[in-house]
Amino acid sequence: MSVGRKFSSFNLISVALGIAFLYLPIVILVVYSFNASRLVTVWGGWSLRWYAALLEDSALQEAAANSLLIALASATAATVLGTLAALTLTRLGRFRGRLPFVAMLYAPLVMPEVITGLSLLLFFVAINLDRGFLTITIAHTTLTLCFVAVVVQSRLAGFDRTLEEAAMDLGCPPLRTFLTVTVPLIAPAIAAGFLLAFSLSLDDLVIASFTTGPGATTLPIRIYSDVRLGVKPEINAVCTIFVAVIALVVIAASILTRRAEQRQQVSAYY
């Protein structure tokens, strides 16, 4: 930290305004989910009635269960594939076919979702795969594995290879070295990648809309069809729960990555 750094009032104001801009709409949404009145503009006192209304809505609960299940399955698959992809990029050097691999891996980061969704759907139709739970899971795995790869790759880039070499010089076989030395060291990044994939899958509307089928309505699809009909206090309540869950996931992920950094600093003292 350099001494010359000054946190001027201009800096303070721009950060404060930025954070306020990012959070104000969400805070308003959360506050109004506890509004007793049905009218958005009228504050009718604090109430949990919209949360109670959610307990009655079995279709909504089913959509939430679908979303959680798809997020769990696709995040697991994406974590395995994304970690392997990150290892491929950091450990195989400049192998033939690296360029198309990198292009395919990173393109989904910026690719408009309508294109990804449309292409996957047309592919599923072409191979005659019934649309539903499985197709959304495959689509979300494809979308999120690149995010896992990015997170794990940045961890592997700052990785101390001598630890692996030491293990192998002492006669540890490669697979066992990988499982007992490498994996524990990159585990926090793998966990953070999993959580990121999980929350992205939970959140996705566009790709899920393309690849869904009968009986596989996810929570965002349901929320979207409700929102098109206008603001309803019940949606405020669903969204508040949704935001709370994702906030917990993100905070857990940031604690995990922080712990990983501390651990690496500790290992630097040896």
């Binding site: 992809a85 294109i115 292409s119 192998m168 994702i246 906030a247």
Partner: protein, 305 residues
């Protein structure tokens, strides 16, 4: 020498590439070929709703009949009807203008974050990342609460006596811009912050010592140094905004028809798969250059680390 001998023992290490490589070919590359193929087909009232379909059982003759049935007529349709050209242009206009605004408001925020006291920086970072992970859909929906006719913005403005009648904020270009800028702000701030943090403050001090005014230092020293982050952030916003669907659909009107919505309508409402595919192919062709540029910026940043 020792490192090399250890590495040689991992002769089967290329196996780790097989699974992700095959997955990406199957679920990323092949689907694009199919989009390309269907964009060359014609709409039909059938299941699937296009012709020709490839009949592998018919062997060589089937393949010949299939190839003979392909045509560029759908692309001709795109060129004839103004609605496609207009929605491409509208998307470009909205993406360019919002990216510009994002740069202007992202720069001071990222700069302020990088100058904040060391202890508060991780907290600010999580604060910016948190909405980026929170549901896109919900964050757009939150603005409907605020912008609708009897919403909070009109209430606040009326209470302040600034307006007499409620303003129709929703279903306008303004609402789409607000929604986009709000949703994409973290994508702009994060890469910029990473660059500002690496910025060598002694360069700024040197400029100040030599009598350079602060605004001039910003344009001549600071801005060139954070250019990689600025380019990454701008592309991370510009490319997905072009294909944006949720924001214009929920906050915009029929006047703000972006290409993502046109594709969506062709596919879901009109069930015209060839036209939807052709729109996707043209959109991708337009985005190839910015995407290649983005990957270039990205890889240079990783190697420069």
């Amino acid at each position: 020498m020792k490192a090399r001998s250890a590495r040689n023992r991992l002769s089967g290490r290329w196996l780790i590439a097989v699974l992700p490589y095959l997955w990406l070919i199957a679920f990323f590359f092949l689907p694009f070929l199919i989009v390309l193929k269907i964009s060359l087909s014609q709409t039909a009232i059938a299941q699937p709703p296009y012709t020709p379909t490839l009949d592998l059982a018919a062997g060589w003759t089937g393949l010949k009949a299939f190839l003979g049935g392909l045509s560029f007529s759908t692309y001709g349709l795109l060129a004839q009807d103004d609605i496609y050209l207009l929605s491409y242009l509208k998307s470009l206009q909205i993406a360019a203008l919002s990216t510009l605004v994002l740069i202007v408001i992202g720069l001071p925020i990222a700069y302020g974050m990088a100058r904040a006291p060391g202890r508060t920086q991780p907290i600010l970072l999580v604060a910016v990342i948190l909405p980026f992970w929170t549901s896109f859909l919900i964050r757009v929906y939150a603005w409907i609460n605020i912008l609708q006719r009897d919403g909070l913005l009109n209430d606040a403005l009326r209470a302040l006596g600034l307006i007499a009648e409620p303003v129709a904020w929703l279903a306008s270009d303004t609402a789409v811009y607000i929604g986009i800028i709000y949703s994409y702000l973290p994508f702009m701030v994060l890469p910029l912050y990473a660059n500002f943090q690496k910025l060598d403050e002694s360069l700024l001090e040197a400029a100040a010592d030599l009598g350079c005014p602060r605004w001039k230092t910003f344009f001549l020293v600071t801005l060139p140094l954070v250019m990689p982050g600025l380019a990454a952030g701008a592309l991370l916003c510009f490319i997905p905004i072009i294909g944006e669907f949720v924001i214009p659909d929920l906050l915009g009107s029929s006047q703000t028809l972006m290409i993502g919505q046109t594709l969506w309508t062709e596919f879901f409402a009109n069930r015209d798969w060839p036209v939807a595919s052709a729109i996707a192919v043209v959109l991708l062709a337009l985005l190839v250059v910015p995407i290649a540029f983005y990957e270039n910026v990205r890889s240079r940043q990783i190697e420069g680390r």
